[in-house]
């Protein structure tokens, strides 16, 4: 029996799967947390079991608990265990759990690298798929770097299911490891034309995401996308592409012009609303980008607006919403076409859907003009009254203020109206935006001088009725406006009708209930008012009024002196003493008004918000340097820098300590009140004194008389409405007047118009009610003009701003991980190790044991895999010749500009030519072959020649077809040339550095001396020819089995003061080497150099030679003929030269792994030779770098002062070197399958070193 129970419970423990867990939780609604905690205990037990099925079950349950908010990161290691199960069922569970709870901070992630790599290369496509899906959720920079290459191979997987996943995940990889973008991009581009629509869609998706952030780098893809757009029928792809075009058009208006037609067609033809909407959106983007240049697209705008109106009128709320959204985009550039639909948009303000109302509000913001501002705001004010719920009402309030204050109050013609709107807004119940209203009041009063009189009057009434605002505790937010009111009344008190009355209002005892920072402003401004009153009564001898004012202050101020708020207290006591002193003087009949006003003299100007930031740092001032060295021991002293500038609002200075005091005071007050109430002898404050201030409402406040042509008050209307009416009348009157005037003086136009007030043409007719002088904000002298402080430096997409059209350089390759042979290290692996120092370090401690165990387990797999890198390598080697053929074809076809590096001009070509689809096709085909070039050269590390490779076809092409553009290209080439020089040097500098690291010890090594590939070919008084070592070599397979091509680039430099033209280059062909001439040319015809040389200018030309045997160096005689043209005469000159093809120039830098290298040497096919160099006085790494640079070798391995090097000829001969150095002697043992080639190469090496 007991056994049964035990067995049962064990069974239950094993059997409780996800469904049971869910059921259990549902059955324990009351004590869910408790139940789950017992479940988690069970799960912990299950995770300890060896059975993977039990573990997987437990992990599956954890995934569910994670959804409920439980942190399951403690099980991360178990999740990894389940992930590495060989069964798909469990693997899937593991990856799901990992994708739900792993993130960059999860430390076990670094254990997963190999497991994921294994799954990625699994023969089962679903293993791969599951790994990709999981990885997409938790990829880290480390994983991205280590797996980028594996994923890139998957992009060409045979199964489209894997391809599309691999393509998509590349985006995540790019984000985490931006260096992978350039090497992977060509293949990604290829996938745009994948036969499978899913893969194509994925590629479009990724490129769209990339292009959205850095559109300029993807402009060159426009033709390809254009083709896709016109051919694809998949709405998803279409939407993405159309969205992408929306991002590209702002950069290239010509693209927009090209797009308009097909987009308009789509708009007319499609039935899918989503597509239609995106088309309209992109057309809008196009129109925006064209708005400056092309005025005649009104038809398209009309079409868009029309379609959007249909959307907005649709009963489907979604379409209505989107219609409004798109409308707001048109608004920015074509406000007029939207403004005609004002009725529709105002209608949307009444919609029951808040999203739609908010959208409509947004639209209103852009739709206002001087004409309709008052009307629109009136409508909004009505909505404010009707609106339910404070959030929407607050939104309305901010929108009203936004609309009115936009672009420096551009649309406000009557600021009196605006002030009254603000005053009306203060009547809103329970708004949070008192501060916003206050700042608007301050802004207007300060910046619009003409309005100050009116503003002060309004503020005075506000102050007088302050109890209306403060009476209700709910309306606390609004009392902020009193802050503004008090300040305005004080600062501009000269405009006050009756400063005495305002002063009295500001010193009422009730003021003491206001927040401290407002009281402080009250006290300070009371002093200002006092000064004004004194000034007013200045000159009157023994002025009763002035003395009364002093007395008032002396009576009332003590209330504030007792304030709990320090700021209030300080100001009040200061001013109180001042007033007492003044009173004394007054009693002695001394004139004080002058001195008192001097206290507050001078005007405060508004300062631009960015002004502080823009103050230029004076020369020689280092803000980071210590002014005084900090004393070493006293760290506590410099805890916080003291504020240099006083805070604007004193409320910050209120400390917690005083709050406590306030509470205490309140308590005491309460006690005292009760005491007083029960004390019959205490005389209570009469309620009548309060009644005085209880005016019925703001509407009935007697408005201070303003000097206006028409009486202000229209009974029964709120203030702002009165203005609306007045404004209409005024405008009509003005119109009539203007008509009269215009008849008289047509030419004299309104000169009074201010810049700040000039709106669109039609609105200029409306002159502002009063001359408004908008004071601009102050900026410091020599303010820096830069405005780039809005960019977010942490945006991950910033790192992806990479120029993708540039040909790939050596540094642009993905780290390829190879397996670690026990003894020998391959250079590639070392590079890998170098870039993962953190990982290896981390692993070193605890993980070592685990690693060893795992290694043992995995040794079998490793053996299998060991073969792989070699295979890959072979593939790479094979692919190189292919690529050569391809680019050769491109070159020979010499079609219109088609190479990768010329893609920018491709775009120009595409954009300028009228017939589209055929051109686009032509363009895309070669560009994909160029992509192949890039990929393979990227994969082959240290492929030095790849840069020239890319530029080469362009040159040939330019020589034949682009004579017009020559000048431009000359300059470009020159730049390129310089860059290349630079690049060479840099690269070898890098190589040297790398070599040194290969031994695992980083030596302190001197920088390499600059090296140049160019040698003098021939020179006379007119011209100098420099030849670069045959820098580009093509290996031609197929028909010309035994023929190779060599490209020689020659720099021509004009040394004379004359113009050199009609340069012709000719070489006497030998049996072995021939200059490649254009078809149809005779064997002895010379080639025209495709440029002319102005004085002092140099340029580079390339010539292709075909070579049969490469084992011997070659010398070819040649002549350059040219015409020297000076002002007076022109002469025909010639220059003879000898071209020297060294054997070195037939070698290609090819990387070789040490194991392959060892095999090669073992094979015994190679014949040896050796060389000794004496008196070499340079560091070993310089020596190696020189051999690498001048003779196209790569270092296979370096140990101390011994290095093995490898190179390969264009015809496939292997050349191996073993370089040793001791003292000043260098011995080179060499092996090669072609002895004569080897001998010549060694001779050349000897020569190189004899020169230095």
């Amino acid at each position: 029996m007991a056994l049964k129970i035990v067995k049962g419970s064990i069974d239950r423990m094993f059997d409780k799967n996800l469904q049971d867990l869910v059921r259990g939780i549902r059955n324990h609604k009351e004590d869910e947390a408790k139940y789950i905690s017992t479940c988690i205990d069970e799960i912990k037990q299950e995770l300890k079991q060896d059975n993977i099925a039990v573990k997987a079950n437990a992990v599956c349950k954890l995934t569910y608990l994670q959804m409920l908010g439980y942190d399951v990161s403690w099980a991360a290691f178990n999740i990894v265990e389940v992930m590495s199960s060989s069964k798909f069922t469990y693997k899937r569970i593991g990856y799901l759990a990992a994708s739900q709870c792993f993130h960059e901070g999860t430390d076990v992630i670094m254990l997963t690298t190999n497991q994921i790599r294994k799954d990625l290369s699994s023969p089962n496509q679903y293993d791969t798929g599951v790994a990709l899906t999981g990885l997409s959720c938790f990829v880290t920079p480390d994983l991205a770097r280590d797996l980028a290459n594996d994923i890139m191979t998957l992009m060409s997987h045979t199964k489209p299911y894997i391809r599309k996943k691999a393509v998509l995940i590349m985006y995540k990889v790019f984000l985490k490891y931006p260096e992978s973008l350039r090497p992977a991009f060509p293949r990604l581009k290829e996938k745009l034309e994948d036969p499978d629509p899913g893969v194509q869609s994925a590629a479009v998706n990724v490129i769209c995401e990339l292009a959205r952030r850095n559109p300029k780098n993807y402009l060159s893809l426009a033709p390809l996308f254009f083709k896709l757009m016109t051919s694809s029928t998949n709405n998803w792809v279409l939407i993405k592409i159309i969205k992408l075009f929306g991002a590209l058009t702002p950069l290239e208006p010509r693209l927009g012009k090209k797009l308009i037609e097909p987009l308009t067609n789509l708009i007319h033809s499609t039935s899918a609303m989503s597509l239609l909407y995106e088309c309209v959106n992109t057309v809008i983007a196009v129109l925006i980008s064209l708005s400056s240049g092309m005025p005649n697209h009104s038809a398209s705008i009309q079409l868009c607006v029309q379609k959007l109106r249909i959307l907005i009128e649709d009963s489907d709320q979604n379409l209505k919403y989107l219609g409004l959204l798109a409308m707001s985009k048109i608004l920015k550039t074509h406000p007029k076409s939207v403004q005609s639909h004002k009725d529709l948009i105002l209608q949307c303000l009444d919609d029951k859907d808040e999203s739609i109302r908010l959208r409509a509000l947004d639209l209103l913001y852009g739709m206002v003009s001087k004409k309709n501002l008052m009307e629109i705001v009136k409508k909004l004010m009505l909505h404010v009254d009707k609106a339910e719920g404070t959030t929407y009402r607050d939104e309305l309030l901010t929108k009203i203020i936004d609309i009115c204050s936009q672009s420096n109050f551009q649309y406000i013609t009557n600021f009196e109206w605006y002030i009254s709107i603000l005053v009306e807004l203060t009547r809103l119940e329970g708004t949070r935006h008192g501060h916003l209203i206050a700042s608007q009041m301050l802004d207007v009063a300060i910046r619009v001088k003409a309005i100050r009189g009116f503003a002060v009057a309004q503020m005075a009434t506000l102050l007088d009725n302050a109890h209306l605002l403060t009476g209700n505790t709910q309306r606390n937010g609004i009392c902020e406006v009193l802050y503004a009111a008090a300040w305005i009344c004080g600062e501009f008190s000269e405009h006050l009708e009756d400063p005495m009355q305002t002063l009295e209002a500001m010193l009422r005892p009730k003021v003491a209930t206001l927040p401290g920072h407002i009281q402080a402003v009250y006290v300070q401004n009371a002093a200002k008012l006092f000064a004004t009153v004194l000034r007013k009564h200045d000159g009157e001898t023994e002025s009763q009024a002035a003395q009364e004012t002093s007395q008032l202050l002396i009576d009332r101020l003590p209330l504030f002196v007792q304030s709990a708020n320090l700021e209030v207290q300080e100001r009040a006591s200061c001013i109180l003493q001042l007033v007492k002193y003044i009173q004394k003087l007054q009693q002695k009949n001394v004139e004080v008004a002058e001195e008192v006003t001097a206290l507050f003299a001078g005007e405060l100007n508004p300062v631009a918000p960015k002004a502080q930031k823009k103050v230029p740092i004076p020369e020689g001032l280092d803000l980071d340097a210590w002014i005084n060295e900090p004393p070493s021991g006293s760290e506590s002293e410099d805890e916080k820098p003291k504020a240099v500038f006083a805070k604007e609002e004193p409320k910050h200075s209120r400390s917690r300590h005083t709050e406590v005091d306030e509470k205490e005071l309140a308590r005491r007050r309460e006690v005292r009140k009760q005491e007083q109430a029960s004390n019959p002898f205490y005389i209570k404050a009469s309620p009548s004194s309060q009644k005085v201030y209880d005016a019925p409402g703001v509407e009935h406040i007697p408005v201070v008389q303003i000097d206006l042509s028409v009486p202000l008050k229209v009974p029964g209307m709120p203030m702002s409405d009165q203005y609306l009416k007045l404004e209409e009348e005024r405008r009509q009157k003005e119109k009539a007047e203007r008509k009269k005037k215009e008849k008289k003086k047509k030419r004299e136009k309104r000169g009074k118009e201010r810049k700040a007030d000039s709106g669109p043409e039609s609105e200029e007719d409306i002159t502002p009610a009063h001359q408004v002088d908008i004071v601009t904000e102050e900026m410091p002298e020599n303010a820096l003009p830069s405005d780039d402080d809005d960019k977010d430096p942490n945006d991950p997409h910033k790192a992806l701003d990479i120029d993708l059209d540039k040909p790939l350089a050596d540094s642009d390759k993905l780290p390829v991980r190879t397996h670690r042979p026990e003894v020998l290290k391959s250079p590639a692996e070392d590079r890998d190790g170098e870039s993962v120092p953190q990982e290896t370090k981390k692993k070193s401690g605890k993980e070592k044991k685990k690693d060893k165990e795992k290694d043992r387990k995995r040794s079998k797999e490793e053996k299998k895999k060991k073969k792989k890198p070699k295979e890959v390598e072979e593939e790479l080697l094979e692919s190189q010749p292919e690529e050569a053929v391809q680019s050769e074809e491109t070159k020979e076809a010499a079609a219109p500009p088609t190479s990768t590096s010329a893609e920018a001009s491709d775009l120009d070509f595409w954009l300028s030519s009228a017939p589209v689809p055929p051109a686009a096709q032509e363009v895309t085909a070669p560009s994909s072959s160029a992509a192949a070039v890039d990929t393979s050269s990227a994969a082959a590390p240290e492929s030095e020649p790849d840069e020239p490779k890319d530029t080469e076809p362009e040159d040939t092409k330019s020589s034949k077809h682009k004579k017009k553009k020559q000048k431009k290209e000359k300059e470009e080439k020159e730049k390129k040339k310089k860059k290349r020089h630079h690049h060479h040097h840099q690269h070898h500098g890098d190589a040297g550095g790398e070599d040194s690291v290969q031994n695992g010890t980083v030596e302190e090594e001197e920088p390499l001396p600059p090296m140049s590939n160019y040698s003098l070919l021939a020179e006379n008084s007119y011209i100098k020819m420099m030849k670069e070592d045959a820098d580009q070599v093509y290996d031609i397979q197929g028909n010309h089995q035994d023929e190779s091509k060599v490209v020689v680039s020659v720099i021509f430099e004009n040394k004379s003061d004359s113009f050199l033209k009609a340069m012709e280059f000719n070489v006497l062909d030998s049996l072995n080497s021939k200059l490649q001439r254009p078809e149809g040319a005779g064997a002895h015809d010379s080639l025209t150099v495709p440029f002319q040389l102005p004085p002092g200018v140099s340029n580079e030309a390339r010539f292709v030679f075909s070579v049969q045997s490469i084992v011997m160096p070659q010398k070819l005689k040649g002549t350059l003929t040219f015409i020297v043209k000076s002002d007076e005469s022109s002469t025909h000159e010639k220059l003879d030269f000898k071209l020297h093809f060294t054997c070195t120039s037939y070698l290609i830098t090819t990387p070789c792994y040490s194991d392959a290298y060892a095999k090669l040497l073992e094979s015994g096919d190679l014949k040896g030779s050796s060389l000794r160099l004496e008196g070499i006085n340079m560091p070993f790494h310089h020596l190696l770098a020189r051999i690498c640079f001048h003779h196209h070798f790569s270092v296979v391995e370096r140990i101390d002062s011994c290095a093995s090097m490898y190179s390969r000829s264009i015809q496939g001969h292997h050349v191996c070197l073993l370089v040793k150095t001791s003292d000043q002697t260098v011995s080179i043992d060499a092996k090669c399958d072609e002895p004569s080639l080897l001998g010549n190469v060694l001779d050349e090496i000897k020569q190189t070193f004899s020169k230095c």
Binding site: V22, W236, N318, E354
Partner: protein, 155 residues
């Protein structure tokens, strides 16, 4: 990009959560609560777009949701996604669920959260739309289920 996919019922109980950007568990729960709060107070006949889930994203992000019987399907997306496109995608996803579970109801999602995840993985990957063709999605899901079955019978 899709930043998050949330499925919860009329009471705000999560039925599936899928974040494509890391948030700690408590933050995730808070986002669910806030999203539920925003979505649940909306009528059924208002638009399916919502701005201003302050927790995820910022101004570039929108909530796009659909309400089916007892469940809300909410996608949080940025401006690179087409609004109507995502609505269609939700429809495709739900129809796929319907096919895979044969007349799907909330209980299916409750008891088979893992399966729902596997289906979703065939639709959206790492925040990007992977497949929109329902037949293709269903085919891939079934193939994988078949594999799982064959593995189970091997034991």
């Amino acid at each position: 990009m899709i930043k998050a996919i949330l499925i919860f019922n009329n009471h705000g109980k999560p039925r599936l959560i899928r974040f494509y950007q890391y948030f700690a568990e408590d933050m995730q729960q808070q986002i669910i609560r806030e999203t539920f709060h925003l979505v649940s107070k909306r009528d059924d006949n208002v638009c399916n777009f919502l701005e201003g889930g302050s927790l995820i994203g910022g101004s570039d992000y929108k909530l796009i949701y659909r309400h089916y019987a007892t469940l809300y399907f909410v996608f949080c997306v940025d401006s690179s996604e087409s609004e109507l496109g995502i609505l269609d995608l939700i429809q495709v996803f739900v129809e796929t669920l319907d096919k895979c579970f044969e007349n799907v109801c909330e209980l299916d999602l409750i008891f088979h959260m893992d399966k729902v995840h596997y289906i979703l993985q065939e639709v959206v990957m790492g925040g990007m739309v992977l497949e929109t063709n329902m037949n293709e999605i269903v085919a891939q899901v079934e193939l994988q289920n078949r594999m799982e079955k064959s593995e189970a019978s091997d034991q």
